[in-house]
């Protein structure tokens, strides 16, 4: 009978072992906001924060805008100027996923006003498509014959900004008037993108440093002054607000600049790679080198045979040549230096989105069995226009911002669940509403 007792003892010790083994451990803590007061969350920015994607601003894209995704995780109300499909802009639809280049159709240029234009205050999402940094602080009228909307041919002023008398003259004023407790500020993309996307043929510089105005990215001096002014104003009027400042990615990681080839496959002889000719700034015909960037918009021209013969070069607007590329890189580097130093000076929190996106550009991004890259369409990060992020791309960036909020403010806000964000719209699927 002794042995039976030993046997029972063994069983008992096994049970104890197992109970110890089952003790719960928990890798993720409770939801907590730390020192964040989420009552009023406001975003000031441009196309990227607006939720602009695939060439237009429309409700389906706005639902997955970066600040709207963050607001959901903060569990705070967030009002956006929602545009009914096909929105405002030139919405692109994937017609056929053909390799190497997909067939993309356009809905044509459309203009739809927000359905909630009667909202009684400024919108929480003050992402203004087409805005350059100057628009954050510009107090000039947006409406009327000499207003910005007409002068710059940008109807978004009248859609995103509210009445300047009632809600504040500048974009930043309208944000401040809302008395945000958390302010996300990510501006300056267009200060270099207008230049880059035009193949270096026009720009947003003011000419203050002597160069002809409208030919280059916003000059560093002007950019620095605007940042100083804007940040000082935020600091003075919103001393207790948590302010998050995003840094700017280089344009060269965007598929709009990195997708088109530098040599073109001869349609009559697939083994042969033809050189691409373009008109350079000096109005000479040059061959695209490995350091130049052919813009995505050139693909259609090349497919029609343009640029493959010296006598019919691509216009300069289709190529960002090596000099222009370095101007863009330098501009963004300068902007980020100012953004960082001015943010630190004012005690704002910097989100290193430049470094984060560069990292994804080099290494990709992986989570729960899905991988993302900056490749056009197949990478899943960018939308059909090759410049603005897709819904999932927005979610990945929103998560980086949440990560920084958690770190800086001792919070534990849950990230946006990527699997709940629709993937890349399959052909004919763009208008799908969830």
């Amino acid at each position: 009978m002794n042995y039976t007792r030993i046997f029972y003892a063994l069983c008992l010790s096994a049970i104890i072992c197992s109970l110890v083994a089952c003790s719960e451990s928990n890798p993720v803590g409770e939801y907590s906001l730390g020192s964040i007061d989420p009552t009023v969350f406001v975003a000031v920015g441009d196309n990227v924060l607006a939720g602009y994607q695939s060439g237009a601003l429309f409700e389906e894209g706005q639902r997955y805008s970066i600040p709207n995704l963050i607001a959901q995780q903060l569990r705070t109300p967030f009002v956006q100027p929602l545009m009914p499909w096909p929105g405002t802009g030139e919405a692109y639809i994937l017609e056929q996923l053909r390799f190497p280049f997909p067939v993309i159709a356009s809905k044509g240029i459309t203009q739809n006003y927000p359905v909630n234009l009667d909202h009684t205050s400024a919108y929480h999402n003050l992402g203004l498509p087409g805005a350059i940094f100057y628009d954050a602080v510009d107090v000039s009228p947006i409406d009327g014959p000499s207003g910005r909307a007409i002068a710059r041919g940008n109807p978004f002023y009248l859609m995103i900004m509210r009445d300047q008398q009632a809600f504040g003259p500048s974009l930043l004023d309208q944000a401040i008037r809302l008395q945000p407790t958390v302010l996300l500020f990510w501006m300056g993309h267009n200060d270099v993108l207008f230049y880059a996307a035009s193949g270096g043929t026009r720009g947003t510089n003011t000419g203050v440093d002597g160069s002809p105005p409208g030919t280059l990215p916003t000059e560093r001096v002007a950019f620095q002054q605007m940042i100083q002014g804007a940040f000082a104003k935020i600091k003075a009027t919103l001393p207790n607000t948590k302010v998050l400042i995003g840094t700017l990615p280089h344009v060269t990681l965007m598929p709009y600049f990195s997708t088109a080839p530098r040599k073109w496959q001869n349609p009559d002889n697939p083994a042969q790679q033809l050189p691409i000719y373009y008109q350079n700034k000096q109005n000479n015909v040059a061959i695209v080198s490995e350091y130049d960037y052919v813009l995505l918009s050139a693909v259609e021209e090349l497919a029609n045979g343009r640029g493959l013969d010296q006598s019919d070069p691509l216009p300069s607007t289709f190529v960002l040549d090596v000099d222009e590329v370095s101007i863009c890189l330098q501009a963004v580097t300068d902007y980020n230096t100012f953004l960082r130093s001015e943010a630190h000076r004012n005690g704002f929190t910097v989100v290193d989105l430049d470094e984060y996106l560069e990292h994804i550009h080099e290494h990709g991004y992986m989570a729960i069995g899905e991988s993302y890259s900056t490749e056009f369409i197949s990478g899943g990060l960018f939308s059909l226009d090759g410049i603005h992020y897709s819904s999932r791309g927005n979610a990945i960036i929103a998560n980086r911002i949440i990560e920084e909020m958690n770190r800086a403010f001792g919070a534990n806000i849950q990230y946006v669940q990527l699997h709940g964000i629709p993937g890349f719209p399959a052909p004919g699927r763009f208008t799908k509403t969830r």
């Binding site: 039976t4 197992s18 890798p27 998560n399 849950q414 669940q417 699997h419």
Partner: protein, 424 residues
Amino acid sequence: MKAHRSALIAFTCLLCMCTQIRAGGYQLNEHGARAMAQAGAFAARANDLSAMFFNPAGLSFQRGFQIMMGATLITPSYSFYGPSNLNSNQRWDMNSNLFFPPNLYVANTWTDGTLKGFAAGIGVLTPFGLGTEWADDWVGRSVTRETELQTFYVMPTVSYAVNHWLSFGVGGNVVFSSVRMRRAVTNFDPELDLVLDGSGDPAFSWNAGMIVKPMENVSLGFSYRAETAIDFTGTANFNPPQQLASLFPGGDVSTSLTPPATWFAAVAWSPVRDFDVELDFQGIQWSSYDKLEVDFKVNRDNSPGVAQSNLTMPKEYENAYIIRLGAEYRIPMLGLAFRGGYLYDRNPVPDRSLEPSLPDSDRHGLNVGIGISILPNLNFDLAYMHLMFMDRVTEATTHPEGVHMNGRYTGSVDLIGFNITYSL
């Protein structure tokens, strides 16, 4: 004989319906209720027909003609909390499922005549298998929705007892198998549902063992089963919407899988009459399972205009072991036997490649069971096992090709085994 026939028919039905669940990787060690009730500590005695699995040398120490059949009911429950790399602690439950891998053994041991000392038999069972299924809309659907591996080992076995203290056994293994995997492709809206179905070419392996009894009441057992290389061919179907059909044509796929070599080293001791206690060490050579590759005949690299590409899933398993301790107490007068046991199963899956198609962790198993002689020549064995998975938290599944699905993996399995043995 009529009873035999209907039992055989019933068994055939079981074979057709069954699916399998893993135990330590995708291994399954419950192939007889008598052994299972003793936590599988059985390779030193191997004193019923499941010897063909545990140690074929055990056959020649038995008597006469026997037939044994049964099944193991398995009800796993598993949860995933996460993904913590997305700062979530949400709970996701694996779909509940019932599995019942069957087993069937027939053997004869000659106790006199020219064949005295010889035994020959055949067994059919499933030493490797896997079945996991998660909800279609769960967070890890791009990793797995459904994974199922079935194997059948048909094992003709011979054994020879040199004398009353030494015996050898060897078996050939003919292996039939099938595999099915289903997962979502979420890069697109709408998502695609990838289904891979394959069947294994018949594969061959072998096993062998010996039993030595250095003393009257002590028995030592050693056994080994070689790995089995199985080549699968099958088809893939992405179920794409019409607009994506040309990008994801699916078509022929192939893969291969090598269930690993396993071995037992065991010692049994019978301190008093009708009481045995046994300690086994089982080693599983999982390190051969480095990655799982599925090759598409038509893929991105050889066919322009196609988006589907070959799949590589890193596994990088490590060698694992199971420690088994079991005991049996018999009351011959009543025709009863009481059994119990405990096992510790060290899992082979490293953190970096852990993923929910096979959510594994170290386990503790508690076993109990009884044996009843219903008639002098008819035995019934019943076993129950509760298998507890130790909580496992992965924080760094950062393998470059891995699934990056961090979180807490937790679960348990209840198993009920039963067997009927008829002896002439």
